[in-house]
């Protein structure tokens, strides 16, 4: 639909711009972890991984591998100066208690009111797995989603109501996609930034939603 779209790295870089200095941030697993590569050098951001660490550093190089030091995606990582370790009870208390400033997650679908579906396609016979997704969805002060706006089949993943099983209700406040940035609230979705050749009208066509135009704000 849109010819000029951001790459995943470009979307990650755009998300990184909105992470303030001093923030405590969880980057989920998979795609959103790219954001850590684009955090501006003049900002100090503390990364949380729900398996029990604050102060997570970059992915481990081969010579740094330590089987006891992994992230939530079970990928070997490093620790920064000032890191701390804690058990799962304390780690999820930290999340549930609203102490993280920002969490960035991937999504299968997000509703215009902020409902999130990212853990199950609900297909019969599929083996379900949820991990910490539901805790992350409801725990952080700001939950951002990073995703392509459309599926490979061209269907919008920003929807009126999620058809996939929910991860959390009314929890996502912002979506960063390859064609636009959206703010979500009880009033619905607002387009706050357009990329490439995207227009608000074209996004309305794609999503079928009465998107609010917030691009001049």
């Amino acid at each position: 639909m849109f010819a000029e779209r951001l790459t995943r790295n470009e979307v990650a870089a755009r998300v990184a711009q909105d992470i303030p200095d001093g923030a405590y941030v969880n980057l989920g697993i998979g795609l959103p972890t790219l954001v850590s590569n684009f955090l501006p050098a003049d900002r100090e951001v503390i990364l949380h991984t729900e398996n029990g660490m604050l102060g997570m550093g970059p992915e481990a190089r081969p010579d740094q591998l330590d089987p006891d030091l992994i992230n939530a995606g079970k990928i070997p990582v490093t620790a920064t100066l000032g890191a701390s370790y804690f058990h799962h009870g304390d780690s999820f208390a930290m999340m549930r208690g609203g102490h993280l400033d920002v969490c960035v997650l991937g999504a299968l679908q997000v509703s215009q009111f902020g409902d999130l579906a990212n853990w199950s396609t609900g297909e019969p016979g599929a083996i379900p797995a949820v991990g910490g997704a539901m805790d992350l969805a409801i725990g952080a002060k700001n939950v951002y989603v990073m995703m392509d706006l459309s599926t490979k089949q061209g269907q919008s993943k920003l929807v009126d109501e999620c058809s996939y099983p929910l991860t959390g209700m009314r929890c996502v406040s912002r979506i960063y996609t390859d064609v636009a940035v959206f703010g979500l609230s009880a009033a619905g979705a607002t387009v706050t930034q357009l990329f490439g050749d995207a227009t608000v009208d074209a996004l309305r066509d794609l999503t079928g939603l009465a998107l609010i135009d917030g691009t001049s704000a």
């Binding site: 729900e50 992994i70 780690s91 999820f92 797995a129 099983p165």
Partner: protein
Amino acid sequence: MISKVVRSISEALSDIGDGSKIMIGGFGLAGQPGELIDGLIEQGASHLTVINNNAGNGTTGLAALLRNGQVDKIVCSFPRQADSQVFDELYRAGKIELELVPQGNLAERIRAGGAGIGAFYTPTGFGTKLAEGKETRTINGREYVLEYPMVADFALISAFKADRLGNLLYRKTARNFGPIMASAATTTIVQVDDVVALGALDPESVVTPGIFVDRVVAVGSRFDREEWAGVR
């Protein structure tokens, strides 16, 4: 004199009976008590219910226990992974029961089991399939699900060092479920690299106090193993 140190894995596991409910520490392979699980396979107890974050990785450890047909039911948050083929096959064949619990509710239910809490209201999972049929309540305008504590007959966990009283230190993110599982089981069995002299652990830094530990067995330094070559 108290000594929780037992000489062998088989002695540590001797009283695990068929039908036991067992918490097994670890997040993926980090903190998974490999030697205790191998011992449990040798020991042979069956019809087990296992509580772990995952449902086995690859073909060793927890995956091998499953493949050996000893587990009737698994309670976990994240069974399906790239390398969870053993579980996947058993599950699709209807040979293992699964209770799926969001990871933080799993942790908090275990913590509640150890802490004598009767039940608690959690916001996690509200409005989702995993809260279907569960009691809910609105408190101060926010919606919560009622969750109950989880306890077990045995906890098998892996720690870094212990003293003879069972005080434990862990290492990095391998700490994960160890401390809460130790508190929630009737009998907690711990594999450690080394048992150190009483007084060698700093009282300020003990993570699991010995009161939560029943048996400790030393399995040798992790740094001597092949996959740890090069780690400090």
